[in-house]
């Protein structure tokens, strides 16, 4: 038995000549929220579709609840709730009628399951409004209601806050957190919004151009974001020479003509400042800094595309 609810091994998807997902190993632990963070088009949705068996895998393996989903659909799918891209419903039916169809097809045994699910997401039960008249936010809420309708153990949510207003986003975030904290649900959630993932996830996978660049717990990631001394000087080349020759410092990075970072925060800055001034280098500023998750993300992915 694996320790993971979802485990992918060298998961790869190639469309024609384009590699959408490249040898991705994801490990989603039970009872935790795993945030899959990446730009639009990074491969997040494709990974989720492959996990759910909605799109064929080019190579690699996916295990959900320690089983390959293919051939075990009847056993595994009832334990999963998912939203992939936009939630799909019948436009000529009301929200309640739509959920009743899915509840019937799933054989949901709980009485009032539809009513309860709608209550949880704040949508009215037996409302006459048709799905085609729903706002994007209401559609997303109905999608979430459909996900929790059969009380699944694992939730796979692809950008579930898309289209929601800020209050709606906060509500959904708290709701997702509650599902994990209070009801022990395992959640795989994707987003291109870093702050969302930072606020929600226990574990994070950073994906870029189909490659999983980093997989770590948020705790470790926060620890990993290094502290450094930001030094602003009049002559960065002269400063480098002084640091290396006089103080034997090698763990630093030159950023531009006037800025460099010293990664050893235990250095005697008073002595360094004094040496620099003596050698005619003006020290404009010197301060201890700490990278944010956003800085870290930019650093490992090369920068843009994350809100």
């Amino acid at each position: 038995m694996s320790d993971f609810v979802i485990e992918t091994k060298k998961l790869t998807k190639i469309y024609g000549e384009q590699t959408a997902v490249n040898s991705v190993d994801i490990h989603v632990k039970p009872g935790r929220i795993y945030g899959l963070l990446g730009r639009n088009g990074a491969g997040k949705t494709t990974i989720m579709k492959m996990i759910l068996g909605l799109t064929p895998i080019t190579s690699g393996e996916v295990d959900v609840f320690s089983q390959n989903i293919k051939g075990h659909e009847k056993r595994i799918y009832p334990r999963i709730g998912s939203i992939i891209e936009t939630p799909g419903f019948y436009p000529n039916l009301t929200g309640t009628e739509n959920l009743e169809i899915f509840a019937k097809l799933r054989g949901t045994p709980r009485p009032n399951a539809v009513k309860k699910a709608l209550e949880v997401v704040g949508l009215p039960y037996r409302d006459k409004k048709l799905f085609s008249k729903y706002s994007l936010g209401m559609k997303q809420r109905l999608g979430i209601a459909n996900v929790i309708l059969h009380d699944p153990e694992l939730l796979i949510l692809d950008e579930p806050t898309n289209g929601l207003d800020p209050i709606g986003i906060a509500e959904v975030r708290n709701f997702i957190k509650g599902l994990s904290a209070e009801r022990g649900k395992t959640i795989l959630i994707s987003s291109h919004i870093l702050s969302e993932i930072a606020l929600l996830a226990d574990d994070i996978g950073i994906i870029d151009h189909g490659v999983l660049l980093e997989e770590n717990s948020m705790e470790d990631l926060e620890k990993k974001n290094r502290k450094y001394i930001q030094l602003q000087v009049s002559d960065v080349h002269k400063t480098s020479l002084i640091l290396e020759q006089q103080f034997r410092v090698t763990d630093y990075a030159v950023q531009d003509e006037h800025n460099l970072r010293l990664y050893d925060t235990a250095l005697d800055m008073a002595a360094i400042n004094k040496a620099l001034v003596v050698q005619d280098v003006a020290v404009i500023s010197s301060q201890i800094c700490n990278d944010t998750l956003e800085d870290y993300f930019k650093q490992i992915t090369g920068g843009e595309g994350i809100a």
Partner: protein, 255 residues
């Protein structure tokens, strides 16, 4: 059965279904109007067979195949359009279940429309009056014709359903439906045992004398000489091949 029941639920408030129903009632009403306005002394309306075969021709020669072709296309394509296919697949509903549930709905619709037309004929026969053969035996013959038609026309339309499963739009299967009808309209006798809709006619002609006469008229005076068993065999073979091809096509599609 649950899948079929939910398939029916999906059609609530659907305008296409209401239009189909309204047109079926209109076609039945037209036949009743003819029964009321043509004298019983005329050879065109001197027995109940004339009424029910007239209503039957109105329904089954063009209207029902076109309606079923469009309906099947909508059944399959709307799951893509509404993005509901992925929701169904992860319930899980297999593609085989999906295909056969939709075909079952198509058959139910076909039988339903035939039943409505049959009932309209009976009511029309009673209203118009003067039919000497409006008795249990004729009603059984008529009922059998409508039932056979309701069951067999959807099977004859399975090649179009195959196109509907392949297609990413409405145009191809609906256009193909119209083309599919051309051989049956211009030379049905030549395509009996080959074209499923023509084969269905070959089966009708053996139900009763009235249906034999109706088929003769539809065949433009040419008497069908193909055995009903060959017609039935060909129809079922093509239907089964189309069903297998549709399931394979659905299985190959990734979401």
């Amino acid at each position: 059965m649950t899948i079929i029941a939910t398939e029916m639920q999906k059609w609530k408030r659907n305008k296409i279904v209401w239009c189909i129903l309204a047109l079926t009632l209109l076609l039945g009403a037209l036949a009743i109007e003819r029964a009321c306005s043509i004298a019983r002394s005329s050879p065109y309306m001197d027995n109940f067979g004339d009424l029910y075969t007239m209503a039957f021709k109105n329904l089954s020669s063009l209207f029902l195949p076109i309606v079923l072709g469009m309906f099947a296309t909508t059944l399959f394509f709307d799951e893509h359009k509404n993005d509901t296919l992925k929701e169904l697949l992860i319930i899980p509903i297999t593609k085989v279940q999906l295909y056969f549930s939709k075909v079952a709905v198509m058959i139910l619709m076909s039988v339903g429309l035939c039943l409505i037309t049959f009932l309209l004929c009976v009511v029309g026969g009673l209203i118009a009056g003067g039919f000497p053969d409006l008795n249990a035996e004729t009603l059984i013959d008529a009922g059998l014709l409508y039932l056979v038609s309701g069951l067999l026309i959807p099977i004859a339309m399975l090649p179009i359903v195959f196109l509907a499963t392949l297609s990413k739009g409405y145009i191809l299967p609906i256009g193909a439906t119209l083309l599919y009808l051309v051989p049956v309209v211009i030379a049905p006798a030549h395509f009996m045992g080959i074209h499923p809709l023509a084969s269905v006619m070959g089966i009708y002609s053996h139900i009763s004398e009235a249906t034999a006469a109706m088929v003769e008229i539809l065949m433009q005076g040419v008497l069908p000489d193909t055995s009903p068993f060959i017609c039935a065999g060909s129809l079922l073979l093509i239907g089964a091949a189309s069903a297998a091809a549709s399931v394979m096509a659905l299985k190959k599609q990734s979401y």
